[in-house]
């Protein structure tokens, strides 16, 4: 019994890392830089939407599908990302291309329900609902900055969210989750992917909805998400290669996600307009 078990373990150990390596290589390779291999970028109308042409070749996703964007604005923005690369293609600056690729390839094979569940999971530990009890300056800052956003969300969606200083976080009623779950279900899978991306950047569903509903500009939402860090920076000083670097990265990712959602779900934004007044 024991030797056979050992054999199985050994086989697993040998097989699994190899498979994992192949998987990461596939995606990690795309994440670095590459020499620029084209001169002109153009947009053309294809069957599935707007396609991007690099010289005469069609842009493809990492899995080899032809790249298609659902709206002209998104296609222009993606084409601009490719067009403004100099001698090397810096993939880490091309957030919209990355988001489109993820939506087209769906490498993690998640469906709409799984995306909604993943998004709602953040509500239980939402950044703006977690409060500190000391130092007094930060307590006050959190109250003054975060309370209005929570109030806005409670009014806009007619739900109870609340905040807590307990380590377990606030208790979110089931009805609140149902309301958000129904609301998120009205977005298409591209829109949902974008929303989940922003939530995982800001660590907050409330702030993300503020962005999607155009209640908060990107800079403000990012500031609110990093409130404690900003407080510590004011107290202890700013370090450019850590704080500013993080800030700019978070801003660019959040802005890309927001733009992506708005450009992918024009029809669902029209629904909001009727609801708001």
């Amino acid at each position: 019994m024991l030797p056979s078990l050992l054999a199985i373990t050994a086989r697993r150990l040998r097989v699994f890392p190899a498979a994992l390596c192949a998987q990461t290589r596939l995606y990690a390779a795309a994440a670095t830089e590459r020499k620029k291999f084209y001169e002109n970028v153009s947009i053309s109308h294809g069957e599935g939407g707007f396609e991007i042409n690099l010289d005469r070749r069609k842009l493809r996703t990492p899995q080899g599908k032809i790249f298609t964007a659902p709206s002209e604005a998104l296609a222009v923005a993606v084409a601009t990302e490719w067009d403004c690369q100099r001698d090397v293609i810096k993939f880490y600056t091309m957030h919209l291309t990355t988001l489109c690729n993820t939506a087209l390839d769906n490498p993690t094979l998640r469906n709409k329900e799984q995306l909604i569940t993943a998004a709602l999971k953040f509500l239980e530990t939402d950044t703006v609902c977690y409060r500190v009890e000391e130092p007094p300056g930060l307590v006050e800052l959190q109250r003054n900055e975060w309370d209005p956003v929570i109030e806005w969300a409670e009014k806009r969606y007619n739900v109870v969210i609340g905040s807590s200083t307990s380590i377990q976080g606030p208790i979110i009623p089931t009805e609140t989750k149902d309301v958000f779950s129904r609301h998120l279900a009205s977005y298409n899978s591209w829109g949902l992917l974008g929303i989940e991306f922003i939530i995982s950047q800001l660590k907050s569903l409330v702030l993300t909805m503020g962005l999607i509903d155009r209640h908060l500009p990107v800079e403000k939402a990012v500031l609110l998400s990093r409130l404690e860090e900003e407080y510590q920076i004011q107290r202890w000083g700013n370090v450019e290669w850590a704080h500013d670097y993080d800030l700019q990265e978070l801003r660019s990712r959040t802005a890309a996600g927001t733009l992506f959602v708005h450009l992918c779900s024009e029809s669902s934004t029209i629904k909001h307009k009727l609801l708001q007044d």
Binding site: A73, A79, Q248, E249
Partner: protein, 110 residues
């Protein structure tokens, strides 16, 4: 609705980012320039009216401006601090405003 300032300011900001990306002579030929100009023109209103379509466009434009601006800044910081591999002890000391002490007689083991 978020306060965003004047649309013209956002428009000028976008043009500035396009110039950074494409150069002063070439930026007017890009698809992005043509698209942005067209959208701003189409949504211009002369009356002081609450126009939701215009506000939505302005929100989108300022989001795009934020994207271009922060991507440029992030890449600049990346090139400056993170893209060159490991630093020498002298460079690390220089980063925090310090200098390594000089030893006049050599370090002894050279």
């Amino acid at each position: 609705m978020a306060a965003l300032g004047s649309p013209l300011r956002t428009f000028h900001g976008l043009l500035r980012e396009l110039r950074y990306m494409n150069g002063v002579t070439r930026y007017r030929d890009t698809a992005a320039y043509k698209y942005i100009r067209e959208q701003f023109r189409r949504n211009q209103v002369t009356e002081e009216k609450l126009c939701r379509a215009q506000q939505e466009l302005h929100f989108q434009a300022s989001t795009y401006l934020c994207l271009l601006h922060s991507v440029r800044n992030h890449d600049m910081l990346h090139q400056e601090y993170h893209a060159k591999g490991e630093r020498s002890p002298e460079q690390v000391a220089g980063l925090v405003g310090l200098k390594l002490p000089k030893q006049p007689g050599g370090k002894g083991w050279e």
